[in-house]
Symmetry: C2
Subunit: 309 residues, 2 copies
């Protein structure tokens, strides 16, 4: 287990309040839990600790592969710092941990390692071997362990429970607007500008080709209004996601035109926020037709991003 001390951690405090889970996306449901965690920490003079896995168990177990995650570990760490969490505990999902009973998980990790005094959990939370530990299990042992417990039901938006699976699906379907509502912030990726020959560039619209982290969920092919962060400054942009034939077969390409921006970005890392899906990729009869469409995309992206950039 690796423990990351975030900005507010104080060794002197009497113990911890903790929450356990994957927290992929740190969406508005997660934030309700973390907000409660922070309040309890403040009121009771405890450090707050978020216990998670260094790699998502579904990836460790091979139940998922490729672009699956909503947040990388680095993103999670940064967001938790903003949310005022004091400690981030990264448990490796080793066979030993996979085999831990709920009792062992609470006693060996939460109580022994962190002197946890208060647990905060989602009402559907399950943990321990095969997910055999739930809220009922915890409630029955609180007196023995001297633990308090706060249970937060799933946050709902338009009658739908907010959860990571649903948000991943929104993104895969290109519905970045609902993803944003359920996440509480626009879906983001950081990408490095790599070599690539964009169609846009050939038509006079300078573009940057981006390489995004492999394990992050990617929006469906199409054209998006995006906010691009270049060295701390936000710019409006249009991103085209598509599939291009390469020597190694078909590859996804992420090509962004940063509106009004001039300069060489090769090798830079850009932050991209997905705000609106503008349209599907389409085949055009002529380069003129395509060029006109790109102009309309730029106009629409500028309009929809106006208050932001």
């Amino acid at each position: 287990m690796r423990v990351v001390e975030l900005s507010r951690f104080r060794k002197s405090k009497a113990g911890c309040c903790a929450t356990v889970g994957n927290f992929d996306g740190l969406h508005i449901g997660h934030r309700a839990i973390i907000t409660e965690l922070r309040r309890i920490a403040e009121v009771h003079g405890l450090n707050s600790v978020l216990v998670t896995f260094s790699l998502h168990p579904r990836l460790v177990m091979g139940k998922e592969e490729g672009d699956f995650l909503l947040t990388t570990l680095e993103e999670k760490k940064r967001m938790l710092q903003e949310l005022g969490t004091d400690l981030l505990a990264l448990v490796d999902f080793t066979p030993k941990v996979q085999d831990m009973s709920p009792e062992e998980f609470v006693e060996e990790i939460l109580i022994k390692e962190f002197n946890v005094r208060w647990l905060v959990a989602g009402s559907n939370h399950r943990f321990g071997k095969g997910g055999s530990g739930d809220i009922c299990f915890l409630a029955g042992r609180l007196e023995e362990w001297g633990l308090c417990l706060s249970v937060i039901p799933p946050v709902q938006v338009n009658g739908l429970a907010v959860n990571s699976t649903r948000i991943r699906k929104f993104i895969k379907d290109g519905d970045v607007e609902n993803a944003r509502t359920f996440l509480g912030y626009p879906y983001r990726m950081e990408g490095v500008v790599v070599k690539g020959e964009g169609i846009g560039s050939r038509l006079g619209f300078s573009t940057a080709n981006l390489s995004f982290p492999e394990n992050k969920v990617k929006p469906k092919d199409g054209v998006y209004a995006v906010k691009v962060n270049v060295e701390g400054q936000d710019w409006p942009g249009v991103m085209n996601i598509g599939r291009r034939p390469t020597i190694r077969g078909q590859e996804r390409s992420f090509e962004v035109h940063i509106i009004d921006f001039q300069g060489d970005l090769y090798g830079n890392t850009l932050g991209v926020e997905f705000h609106k899906r503008l349209r599907d990729e389409m085949r055009y009869e002529s380069e003129e037709e395509l060029s006109e469409q790109i102009k309309r995309d730029i106009q629409e992206a500028r309009r929809s991003l106006q208050p932001l950039c």
Copy 2:
């Protein structure tokens, strides 16, 4: 149901956080729950409501009778006001209420009457018909009801769980010091000064005979160091509790000597706090011997109450 609006109640607030129970004694375990209730109310802009029964169900059902309660309704109301609770809901334990399922209790009383959004409960809390509703039951319905839940385990003192039954037993055994530790305050009763011929008076120690509320638990016969509140001022005192033969048979008598106090108190209401058990009632060979003992009692009461009066 009768709803008492305590000082901080605001109609404008979005809803309530609630706790349900008898809360007899409002001991340190109850206070841990009420402190959490108040914190949640403040943070989430809710009114806090304590839902209790206008008469203890064990008295309604005839499972207990006579001097059973640690707190009268008036005492509860006053203490809840001090603890910063906004509403006190008094449910009559009618056959209809006795027959309510846990679902009905939550839906008909908590949600419908008070728009409850957050529940705070002790980890052993049971409610609804035959006590069939518990924390597990609640946890399974939180999502449906959109409720949050905080669960507080029993507070422990020297390895003993704090609960009303244990405190009643301390008092009945004369152990007012442990009662005080577990309650978080000295056990109190308010009594009216009635006619009565005390032994003390005959020996030159002026005494007041008190009539206490019938349903309050009474300390075991014996002699106690007490703090007596007379019209807002605290005095040290010695109280003798014993059984005296009357025309109607044997009756308990509560005779207090207020140290250094002079004046007629007949008809006044006095507040009595039990701080220390000094001794058993004893038979004395002569009035001189008894008089000497009373002098020693006064000395010891004065010493043990010195920092308080």
